[in-house]
């Protein structure tokens, strides 16, 4: 199977120079499919949690963005019940100049800066706007319950 050079290079760099708090390891039997873990950022309700994600580079990557979702349950206004993520750089604002590494950093940043005005999980976003301390407390509880390292 011929894997594009671009993907090989990105993978090598992810291994050689890992991003702090982020790990991405390709599956042996599918080098376009990665097991990812992201540490919740400090000073966020996700601090102390390790979140598992899966990432797939479609056939026409990097012309189209990677597909990525959370496997760990998370209480966040921009992440839905199936772990799908609402993030501009994964959709309309994707550019082939972006990489796996930049996308994972954007997701880590999204954990530190939830955006209830552009929600994917409507019930969570509404709670975030009406009762932010309550929503943050729930996000902390879920982190302890589901994302314990």
């Amino acid at each position: 199977m011929a894997l594009p050079k671009r993907i090989i290079k990105e993978t090598e760099r992810l291994v050689a120079e890992p991003v702090p708090g982020i790990q991405a390891i390709p599956h042996d039997d599918n080098l376009r499919y990665f097991d990812v873990s992201i540490h919740g950022p400090a000073q966020s309700p996700y601090e102390g949690g390790v979140f598992k994600l899966e990432l797939f580079l479609p056939e026409d990557y990097p012309m189209t963005p990677p597909k990525i979702r959370f496997l760990t349950k998370i209480y966040h206004p921009n992440i839905d019940r199936l772990g799908r993520i609402c993030l501009d750089v994964l959709k309309a604002n994707w550019s082939p100049a972006l990489q796996i590494r930049t996308i994972l950093l954007s997701i880590q940043a999204l954990l530190g800066a939830p955006n209830p005005d552009d929600p994917l999980a409507n019930d969570v976003a509404q709670r975030w706007k009406e009762d932010e301390p309550g929503a943050i407390a729930t996000a902390r509880e879920w982190t302890q319950t589901h994302a314990a390292p």
Binding site: M1, A2, H27, N30, R32, Y33, E54, F56, L57, P58, E59, K67, R69, L71, K73, R81, L82, G83, R84
Partner: protein
């Protein structure tokens, strides 16, 4: 060789096709439990094919996609009672020649085609709306 879409992303594609209304009008599909991150169990419906005893009937089925899907086909079970040769009485055995490119929609449409074929379109059917 083309990229091999992993199970979970394949199932998300199938889900999103339904959510966006891009699926066939002759069948429908949805997750049994919207919180099931592994997307294992699905509910489907098949609109009975025209010019057959099944016309205007809506058949409910359950589909189960295990960890090997789509390398292996989903298992399918009719919830609505139906008289069809491969339904025994609730397990389905007419899904031979599975290919990885096939989807759950392929299965539902193939069943619908089977309902409309040959003698099957004339078989006497249990009362409409009865379930196994």
């Amino acid at each position: 060789m083309s990229a091999k879409v992993p199970r979970n992303f394949r199932l998300l594609e199938e889900l999103e096709k339904g959510e966006k209304g891009q699926g066939s009008d002759a069948c429908s599909l949805g997750l049994d439990d919207g919180n099931d991150i592994m997307m294992t169990n699905w509910n489907g419906t098949i609109l009975g094919p025209p010019h057959s005893v099944h016309e205007n009937r809506i058949y409910s089925v359950k589909l189960h996609c295990d960890e090997q899907y789509p390398d292996v086909p989903p298992t399918v079970q009719f919830l609505s009672r139906i008289n069809l040769p491969c339904v025994d009485p609730t397990k389905l055995q007419c899904l031979g020649n599975w290919k990885r490119e096939y989807t759950m929609e392929t299965v539902l449409l193939e069943l619908r085609r089977f309902m409309a074929s040959g003698n099957n379109k004339k078989l006497p059917q249990p009362p409409e709306g009865s379930t196994f």
